[in-house]
Symmetry: C2
Subunit: 435 residues, 2 copies
């Protein structure tokens, strides 16, 4: 058997501890599959004294992560510190500069600095791998970079945030509203005390930007992801969706827009209506799923646990096995220098059906005002439901589904209605995913 | 850019033609992703004169596949001839013997001769790849061999035959019986004139044996797959299943049985009841899906088109890209010599809930006879449904679902009832998949 692959692990939170545990529990099997043993040499974390439930006594402890990245007895640095910049980025740069392979679960860092790090790794002739950064344990980076590599990918989309999906599918099951469901999720530990990254779609946007780059061979562009969270989705929207044959999901999607002068990249994270017959409609709880549509393979679906120490450790160690087996190819599907910089697409080009929900005052003429705006903006209505009576606030909900049409027309209709005294709250717009 | 990867393609049916078309349509993108161009040098098929809709004029034509495998200007032989033995196997052996990499979509050949071919490829230091042999375009061989490689896989199962699934999901939607649905599928081209391989589970068994070997690191053992088809499933069974909250699927499953002296391999293909909340319940039409349960990653699902020229070509070319990128690792998850020969498990050890359907004569005492046999065999009944009245043949259906218990008890109960004058047909037994 070949020499061991020698590892340094930075960050010993739940994921880091999970990686240590996996490497210990499955050691013999891993050595057989990788063709060499995977051996932890050194570890580093902020606080040495925390009890972590794993035996770290045989590993060197490094207080200084920079020193760890320079150790002569280390082949791979595993970065599990987190954060887009700061110590994680410094460690990543240092590790690559010293010719170490880098494996990371850090979606924010890759979304922001993946291009720079990939170029550095390619120049150094070493590996940069980040399977765990997208969709936890699901091997979707590999699935797109290798499994679907023969295809021109036309679109990639999915449910990429377990917390948001837990909240939406719980609202669906219970009929409860957003605020109380979030509160319950926080009590149960499914949502953070500050849930912004999850419920506002930023975490999903990080993952989406990475997937888009791999799928399309386009340059990473996190800044252009249009991002809208789930906090404005009401229990009533979920009920209406159900009546119409849909569920609500926070969908992250990327596609190439050919409607303009040249190809452009459309990246969006926002709550959408998903037909009940679509695979994403059955993705409940903290599960993640990714759909890729290729020009030869058709629709592929990858589904599994999107977070948690076990699944994330599984993805980290899959990367380590790849490296041990000698796979140190380009981090993205093509060399970093060949990634094409694409301008951000005009979201108005996107066509499809749309769900619109208006909160309106309970008085005559409101429906006429809304439907006139739709007509004037060239939005064709397929169905419209007005709730029977006003709620306690004297507010009535009007929900409608449009025929296929461009988002630009929807935006125009909303402009026409902006400032209307009939509206008691900004309208909620949800695109409908095609089956 | 590195030298081109030079290909010889044997077999120009729908899949072979699809591979040629994919290599032509996506050529520039493939070269960028693979780091070198993928160039067809030679092709071979039975009949040179068939019009195939692709331009073959720039490739050398070889009437003799054996000569093609020996060509000095070929790096990879792509075997798309089909058949477990005969010309395909001769070609595969020859190609590897000449140091060529071999890529194949031939599930029967790999299921029967994969071990021999893997050993030969490893000895020759060349690649043997067969992503397209299992579940068409779904990258599940890679998903298990690499993506889930960090996990001890506890069980792998799925819907692996599109024809059988098309028939079952059509029966589900239409309420029609098996014979008429099969006839319609044959007229539409979804089922072969001789559908035996598909509807009796043999095709699924080929794929299962390959998946099990990769998942468990066990030696390929197609012969020990217990195989039962779908031809005895009636419209009434599907209705009963629906009432009870299930759908019927032809499920191929493999697991390690630890109930005996040492580990044993249980491989089964048979119609099962799948809870409607389970991902496999939503796999309809010709779609395939594979579930793998790992000790760290939990449940992973891979889903997509299980057949067809486009999806199969996608998988074949993914293998070619891997080879072009330099990945020529062991064909299975571990070297062929390290694959563990496991004895076939006693299917009676398998525990779970079971659906039993009896066709009985419409006379007093029949229910008592059946329930007494269940009691005497220690089978505990959770629910029982007896159809209200006899059908035209004077036959009544009695369906029941058991509590959790070993299959050995079910088998014992059926022995006690064997030869009973009350039964008008052999009982149908379907295991229930756990949610």
């Amino acid at each position: 058997m070949a020499d061991p692959l020698r590892l340094a692990i930075a960050g010993l939170g739940t994921v880091g501890t999970g990686v240590v545990r996996l490497l210990q529990e499955n050691a013999a099997m891993l050595a057989e599959r990788a063709g060499r043993s995977l051996e932890i040499v050194a570890v580093s974390a902020r606080d040495r004294m925390v009890e972590r439930g794993v035996d770290l006594s045989r590993f060197a402890w490094e207080d200084d992560m920079t020193a760890m990245a320079a150790r002569g007895d280390v082949d791979v640095v595993v970065e599990l510190v987190g954060g887009a910049d700061g110590p994680a980025l410094t460690l990543a740069r240092n590790a690559i500069a010293h010719g170490k392979a880098l494996v990371t679960a850090n979606k924010a860092m890759i979304a922001h600095h993946g291009l720079e790090l990939a170029q550095a790794a390619e120049t150094a002739g070493t590996a940069l791998k980040f399977e765990a950064a997208v969709a936890g344990g699901i091997p979707v980076v590999k699935g797109l970079r290798e499994g679907a590599a023969a295809n021109r990918i036309e679109t990639v989309y999915g449910v990429l945030n377990g917390t948001a999906n837990y909240i939406l599918s719980t609202m669906e099951a219970s009929g409860a509203d957003f605020a109380s469901t979030l509160g319950e999720a926080q009590r149960l530990g499914y949502a953070e005390a500050d849930p912004t990254f999850d419920i506002e779609g930023i975490d999903a946007a990080h993952k989406l930007a990475i997937l888009a780059s791999i799928a399309f061979g386009s340059r990473l562009d996190f800044a252009s992801v249009a991002c809208e969270g789930i906090s404005r989705v009401r229990a009533a929207d979920i009920r209406q969706a159900d009546t119409l044959g849909y569920v609500v999901r926070l969908v992250a999607s990327a596609e190439i827009d050919h409607a303009g002068e040249g190809p452009a990249l459309l990246q969006q994270v926002r709550p959408c209506l998903v037909p009940k017959s679509h695979p994403l409609a059955h993705v409940t709880g903290a599960t993640n799923a990714v759909v890729a549509q290729g020009n030869f393979v058709g629709r592929l679906l990858f589904q599994g646990a999107g977070a948690g120490d076990g699944p994330t450790a599984s993805a980290v160690v899959a990367d380590l096995i790849d490296i041990a087996r000698g796979d140190i190819g380009t981090p993205f599907s093509v060399p970093a220098a060949a990634l094409v910089p694409l301008p951000a697409a005009d979201a108005g080009h996107h066509t499809g059906q749309t769900y619109l929900r208006f909160s309106v005052t309970d008085r005559p003429g409101v429906l006429a005002e809304i439907t006139a705006a739709m007509r004037d903006a060239d939005v064709s209505i397929e169905s419209l439901i007005q709730q029977g009576r006003a709620n306690d606030g004297g507010e009535v909900l009007v929900a409608m589904v449009t025929h296929d049409g461009p988002q630009s027309c929807i935006a125009h209709a909303l402009e026409l209605l902006a400032g209307s005294a009939s509206l008691t709250a900004p309208p909620l717009v949800m695109q409908i995913i095609e089956d």
